[in-house]
């Protein structure tokens, strides 16, 4: 079966660190960063990037639309 891998890119300066994307991720990929952005928010990032399937759940639920999702199929 072909494997699906995904990745997200967070617009760090626009992320407000609300954390709504964290429970929305079915693969438990996203966490809030210990670092802060220019406004002092703990922005979200891929803590376990190898588990991301690019399902777009995080981007769909993000109130500020800061998440961009990429997905690739890897033929086995």
């Amino acid at each position: 079966m072909a494997k699906v891998r995904g990745a997200i890119v967070v617009d760090v300066e626009k992320c407000k660190g609300c954390g709504v994307c964290v429970p929305a991720c079915p693969s438990n990929v996203i966490e809030l960063n210990k670092e802060v952005n220019g406004k002092g928010y703990h922005y979200s990032f891929m803590a376990r990037p190898e588990a991301c399937t690019g399902c777009t759940n995080c981007a769909v639920v993000c109130p500020d639309g800061v998440i961009t999702v990429y997905r690739i199929k890897i033929p086995s």
Binding site: G6, K14, G19, G54, A59, V61, I72
Partner: protein
Amino acid sequence: MDIAIKDIIKKENLVYTKTKLMTDNVLSYCPGCGHGTAHRITMEVVDEKGIQEQTIGIAPVGCSVLAYEFMNIDMVQAAHGRAPAVATGIKRVMPEKYVFTYQGDGDLAAIGTSETIHACNRGENITIIFINNGIYGMTGGQMAPTTLAGMKTSTSPFGRDLHSMGNPLKITELVAQLPGTYYVTRQAVHTPAAVRKAKRAVRKAFELQAENKGVTFVEIVSNCNSGWKMPPVQANEWMEENMFPFYPLGDIKVDGELVKK
């Protein structure tokens, strides 16, 4: 064989990005506020239907007063509560355009009740998108008509007492009774599944507007984590436990007929 992240992040693998119909301005809303998601799904529908040049939005007074800064379409900002009246005028002058209002509960269900009810009763061919968070968010979390029984706000610090402060208003059920409304539904935007359903509802509302069926009314139950004094994720959980039993999600009126519960 594993693949590097930089090989996944390529233009040809893009599956989701913010629609071009949302401007690059940083949203003025608090972290976790449902307004941003509601803006985005509305603009995604406009984008997917390819009606950017035929759509006119009416911004309200409230937190979303600056909606015209974020939605990359033609917009008018109406006086407090008067968005359905302004939308009526625009739609009657330009019946070929898609006209929608975007209002909060303080705007639509308090000061604008008269405009809302009469526009819905006249059956104007407009779409009303109504964000209900049960509180006046912009002015500092005062009690709204939609505030739940027992809910604490800055003007009801011991909880809303039904005896002295009256009952919460289900304005969506109210307008569904009127003959002018054709499609009335209640949605939410706190989980991915709910967002996708809400987007389908907004799409249906725009499609029915093109058929001149009457008012299409989409309520979106949303959070107000600043007004409710909770972190965003906890506010969403509180909303599921407390708001949804009183404001149940789902269609209320479909094809001009009330949905029997």
